[in-house]
């Protein structure tokens, strides 16, 4: 059994959203939660971020959709999902009973899509927050622009803000020149928090056939390979905005999560690690407690943003 540290306070607040600990599972890596029910004590998690949901079901991209790379993987799933109605009718039944916070990741092709999704999900029992996906690199339509053009990101955030009173997290793309600007505009537009980073756009080629390894040619890189990039961006954004930052990118063990917290993240999301180690998020929670005990800290919030820089 996993050791419990009842005297260590792991609670954090993401704006109005209260979490029992700062460890969430990242969208697209944890299905709709139920897929992991046999293997993970869901009630121990800070929360689950669902697979991205759209207004209508999406079939996703043709195969092959994934390829392993050095210390990481590329994916071009193409936002396959059951659609919001099926999500509410079927997937929420399990999630509601899972004993953890439920954050629904939403995606659309237009500002109106996002606003309608937010309105539809508001008031549904068991949904604790929304995460706006403006940063998926795998759709050819206008979706990418929402994550790369500041005015578009602000428009989506503002429209969703007007449509819901749920806590609102905006997930940022790293595929921009200045991620701090994106963070600042979505804060201004009403986001309660930002989460970063989504995947870095990459590709891989089979030299024998000279064909791309993904049918979509390009895809999103995730896994331990991207952690230093993610950590740098989280540090920069946390210094820029005053809303909470959720760190994502290659987090696979407690030390990784702690680095993000020290850099200024209030919470973290575990992504690709769920795929190869379903127990990763739980192990990270235990590891954070052990670290805090060793460091003589009583609460995880006391280490957030405590990066020590030369000359103070």
């Amino acid at each position: 059994m996993t050791a419990q540290y009842d005297d260590i306070d792991l609670r954090v607040r993401i704006g109005p959203l209260r979490l029992r600990n700062p460890v969430l599972t990242a969208s697209g890596t944890f299905g709709y939660g139920r897929e992991f029910a046999d293997l993970v004590n869901l009630h121990r998690l800070g929360g689950v971020v669902t697979k991205g949901i759209s207004l209508v079901p999406r079939p996703g991209n043709p195969p092959p959709r994934i390829v392993e790379t050095a210390c990481g993987m590329l994916n071009a799933i193409g936002l396959e999902n059951v659609g919001v109605e099926e999500f509410i009718r079927r997937k929420m039944v399990f999630l509601r009973s899972a004993g953890t916070r439920v954050i629904v990741n939403i995606l659309g092709d237009s500002v109106d899509d996002y606003a309608r999704l937010a309105a539809r999900l508001t008031g549904i029992e068991g949904i604790d927050a929304l995460e706006i996906n403006i940063s998926c690199p795998n759709v050819k339509k206008g979706g990418v622009a929402f994550g790369t053009v500041p005015e578009m990101a602000a428009a989506v955030t503002g429209a969703v803000r007007a449509a819901t009173d749920l806590p609102l997290i905006v997930k940022l793309s790293p595929n921009v020149t200045d991620i701090t600007r994106m963070a600042a505009v979505v804060e201004e537009a009403g986001a309660d928090a930002v989460s970063l980073i989504n995947t870095l756009i990459g590709m891989a080629i089979d030299c024998r056939t000279r064909r791309p390894r993904l049918a979509n040619v390009i895809g999103g890189l995730s896994g331990p390979a991207i952690k230093p990039v993610a950590l740098r961006m989280v540090w920069q954004v946390a210094r820029t905005v005053s809303i909470p930052v959720i760190g994502i990118g290659g987090i696979s063990r407690a030390e990784d999560a702690l680095e993000f917290l020290i850099a200024g993240a209030t919470a973290v999301q575990v992504g690709t690690a769920n795929l190869y180690q379903p127990s990763a998020a739980e192990e990270i929670i235990t590891g954070i407690s052990s670290y805090l005990r060793e460091q003589g800290e009583a609460a995880v919030r006391d280490i957030i943003g405590t990066l020590q820089l030369e000359g103070g």
Partner: protein, 259 residues
């Protein structure tokens, strides 16, 4: 069906032919609940490269909670696994996926090509639990050469099946494709179970369809999670995309949109 994450000790490692390995692992939770055609996801190391688990169909389970995997070294994941000495532990997730539907009475035919033979042995053993006469069940096995096939064929002979072989180089049995052997047996079987390279399964599926014989195939794809979460292991099915890890790996041949 419940899935388990289990640390399994490697009890034995046999190299059946150059680069072909059979590992025996002690994994009582998974072995105790596995069904033929299901698979396990194996973490081949503790480090990040290779990062993802590798899927392997279950070759057989034995009383006492042992489980066998049969594989050929084709890349880094299988290379790592092949180098693991008995005594080491590997982390398994399983049993995963939808396996074969067991035909209890009428004669059936098993068709295996290369490492696709792996799950058929588990199937062949489990079919025998239902009183049947294996000498009326043809088992058609194909491989590159006699060296790769002989020991595996012996296992099915040992179970009493009507074993017929084919090799690419003619060193054992029919010189040619294993599917060449299917025509002669189709008229007297009610179902065909196939696992092997994609082109072989496509041919077998077409022959079964033409003969009006039910056919199940076990598909293989790249996979990340094995749990239905990442949606990476997609194949083209008759009705849109299907995911091999949860809707398969075993499909009715007619469900697949053969390319």
């Amino acid at each position: 069906m419940t899935k388990f994450q289990e640390k399994a000790q490697i009890l034995d490692r046999q190299e059946l032919a150059a680069g072909v390995f059979r590992l025996t692992l002690h994994a009582p939770l998974i072995a105790g609940s596995a069904h033929p055609g299901q698979f396990v996801m194996v973490r081949v190391g503790e480090l990040f490269d290779p990062l993802l688990r590798r899927p392997f169909s279950i070759h057989q389970v034995a009383a006492g909670g042992d489980l066998q995997l049969l594989f050929k070294v084709v890349g880094r994941g299988t290379g790592c696994l092949a180098r693991m000495e008995p005594g080491r532990e590997v982390d398994l997730l399983g049993p995963l996926g939808r396996g074969f539907r067991l035909q209890r009475e009428d004669p059936v035919c098993l068709v295996g090509g290369g490492m696709g033979i792996a799950p058929l042995y588990f199937l062949g053993k489990r079919l025998l639990q239902h009183a049947r006469l294996p000498e009326f069940d043809p088992v058609l096995l194909g491989a590159v050469s006699q060296q790769e096939l002989a020991l595996l064929a012996d296992d099915f002979f040992g179970l009493g099946y009507d074993v017929r072989t084919a090799t690419d180089d003619g060193s054992l049995g029919h010189h040619g494709f294993v599917t060449d052997l299917l025509d002669a047996v189709l008229p007297r079987v009610s179902k065909v179970y196939v696992c092997g390279p994609y082109p072989m399964m496509r041919i077998a599926a077409a022959k079964c369809l033409a003969a009006g014989v039910a056919c199940e195939v076990s598909l293989e794809t790249h996979m990340a999670c094995g749990l239905g979460a990442c949606l990476g292991c997609t194949v083209q099915a008759q009705e849109g995309y299907a995911h091999v890890c949860i809707q398969g790996p075993v499909f009715e041949a007619t469900e697949v949109a053969w390319q």
